[in-house]
Symmetry: C2
Subunit: 155 residues, 2 copies
DNA sequence: GAAGATTGAGGCTTCAATCTTC
DNA sequence: GAAGATTGAAGCCTCAATCTTC
């Protein structure tokens, strides 16, 4: 019986992934890797909201892959910053609808610019001929991660 | 004036990176993506300690890229689990030396196996011809991240 | 009863202040 | 005074329990 994937390859993947996460500062969620004084998830939420007209809080939770309780508090923060509006609409009365305010749209644009700078700097340090491969690799990894979910509950 | 890297590429990198982080569950540090009931950093610390004879707490902090206060509490946890021993040695009396216990070595081996399974599953879902590219891409990204550090302190 | 949302408790991380040792 | 380590306060995230609406 031959292994499809060698142990060494798996270890190498794990090692490189851990190294990148730490090197890029992804293990500290309360600061954007871009240096902006905004938590990662808040910036991500703004990006999601700026792409659409409005979103249900539940829909935002799915996009961010966070717990509904986390999203609830996250949205409260965004409202306190004046970036998001919460509202009810006709129809299902359980749903909470979210919209960017004018200030929210401006903040989203600024964060987007900061992101572009940060990630542009990252890309600039990459050999140009490797850039498409890096993008493709990340996409493949995401698809692979979605296909093979967390292993299982312990018996 | 021509941009070396297009805004779109930067945005694409950002988007793919965020997608992968969320899809793989890297935004929740208190559970290993492998499903083991061990925080990510504890597993990482065990892996680092199993590779050497002994390590200073400060050296471990550098390898994990965590704050010294975090490492202090992290090590206390590992000691409570019976996996690590803290000790003083002749010479610099400020240094705290860390060593794996027998149980710690066994735990490290088990976690390593679980990691191999998890990441092997990830790799198995990747087109075989893409696997070397993915590994190389992660390595390039890490080097790039280390070369272009966080943008700056705000004025 | 189920789904959406909120509130409370606990864990991981950072920053700041303090203590010890060089 | 500086470097290593610990302790205290605050933020982000999950899990569990609760409330509202379907």
């Amino acid at each position: 019986m031959v292994e499809l994937v060698s142990i060494d390859d798996a270890a190498a993947l794990q090692q490189r992934l851990a190294a990148f996460v730490r090197a890029f500062g992804l293990h500290q969620p309360d600061r954007t890797p871009c240096g902006e004084p905004v938590p990662v998830s808040e910036a991500y939420a703004l990006a999601e909201l700026s792409g659409v007209d409005a979103l249900t809080q539940s829909a935002l939770k799915d996009r961010l892959r966070l717990e509904k309780s986390t999203v609830s508090r996250l949205v409260t923060q965004l409202i306190n910053r004046g970036w998001v509006r919460r509202s009810k609409r006709d129809g299902d009365g359980r749903l909470v609808w979210l919209e960017l305010t004018g200030a929210g749209r401006r903040a989203a644009a600024e964060l987007s610019a900061a992101r572009a700078t940060r990630f542009g700097g990252l890309l600039a340090n990459l050999p140009p001929d490797q850039r498409p491969a890096v993008l493709a690799a990340l996409e493949s990894l995401t698809r692979a991660a979605e296909t093979s979910p967390t292993p299982a509950e312990p018996a």
